[in-house]
Symmetry: C2
Subunit: 238 residues, 2 copies
């Protein structure tokens, strides 16, 4: 990783759950991680823990970490790339899953692109893609919507929009919810959308209690379930 | 994989390029593959080649393969799950990347879900997610559109729709093209869309010549490039 003329920004996925890294990351990722000295991370403590889990022999104290998260001043983002300006490769690590997907990182990648740096994403677990694979829904056309709006009126309007995109555009609709509201969300979907519409709940992806279950909303409304406090992703399709 | 009461359908990603499996697949995937005897595959010859690349000691001739692709009669899809009805686990393997994402497999997963079988996606390379990670574009809201329509009028209408979803809904738009038309597509985007809009071309993902490049359409229109016959994915954002 030192023989190139341009610095490289590596996007380094981390596990979604407490499983070992060999369960969800290619061994190649470890060889990349071991060659890096500079990291931009969502949370320094989790990033250090991840690097130790990759390889106990990594000398964490010799590494340099900058934080990038909701508390970061947008104006300071370009300066996070200082090591790259000096010719060093940088690794970006988010709290869970793939950096820059439903997670910080995209802003700094956008700046790296304007400098002409190489940007190299590594393979890792994405709950969006794994949920979609397991759902049985349309994988030729799909949208990830992040969180639904909290405000009642905007939330209803968003659900109407998702319904239209499913029925009219044949597009799978994917979204997430704050985990302690998962049960409430499912009940709300059952009440607000056509009962023959299918909902897939993909929970604890790659974890011990992973479950990916597709049922019609009519079936969900009769089912006993408890997804509260379990990380989950929701997919809707006709 | 024999101690469970319900059969499991594994979705098994394969490399996108000629790189080794350890570059893009977790070692765990290999342990799953080695426990399976029944496979539903997009192409038998490629699936056999992939399994040999996973582990040369796998006795390919002892395995059972069913094909699922554009030539498969939709009515025959439920019968592909016959081994599961008899209590066996099944692996689904597509030609490249993640099964059921922009690839066959979703229909058979949908049937497996109605039988209550466990569906377990494994981690692997997705050009959609890796392109998005490397683009610097919005990863909180994005849509994959598959191929653009070929017919001129419908194609223009689709480009207008993508523009609206980018500008109005702040949603990254992702799509693919038949590789021999890649250059023509880039020229067309430069001509049809606002010149300050950004286009990311992510080509040969995970391969020797991987390139993920984000520029404004104005910059693309002045640039020399040749993506013809190279597998690529296209992302647009404001």
């Amino acid at each position: 990783m030192n023989s190139k003329s341009r610095p490289t920004i590596y996007l380094i996925p981390v596990p979604l759950s407490d499983t070992g890294t060999e369960r969800v990351l290619p061994s190649y990722n470890l060889s990349v991680v071991k060659g890096l000295k500079y990291f931009i991370v969502e949370n320094i403590r989790s990033a250090r823990r991840f690097l130790k889990a990759c390889d106990r022999s990594i000398d964490i104290d010799s590494l340099s970490f900058s934080e990038l998260n909701g508390h970061t001043d947008p104006q300071s983002i370009p300066s996070l790339l200082k090591p790259a300006h000096e010719g060093h490769d940088i690794g970006i690590i988010s709290e869970a899953g793939c950096p820059a997907i439903a997670d910080p990182g995209a802003d700094v990648v956008a700046v790296a692109q304007t400098h002409g740096y190489d940007v190299v994403p590594l393979v890792g677990p994405s709950s969006i893609i794994m949920g979609l694979m397991g759902s049985g829904f349309n994988g030729q056309s799909f949208a990830f919507n992040g969180y639904l709006p909290i405000d009642g009126g905007r939330r209803s309007a968003k659900l109407r929009e998702l319904e239209r995109k499913i029925m009219h555009d044949d597009q799978t609709q994917i979204f997430i919810e704050t985990p302690y509201r998962n049960n409430k969300l499912i009940a709300e979907l059952c009440k607000s959308l056509p009962r023959q519409m299918r909902l897939c709940v993909a929970s604890d992806i790659t974890g011990e209690k992973q479950s990916i279950l597709t049922l019609t909303l009519s079936e969900w409304s009769k089912k006993k379930y408890d997804y509260d406090k379990i990380p989950a992703i929701f997919l809707l399709y006709k």
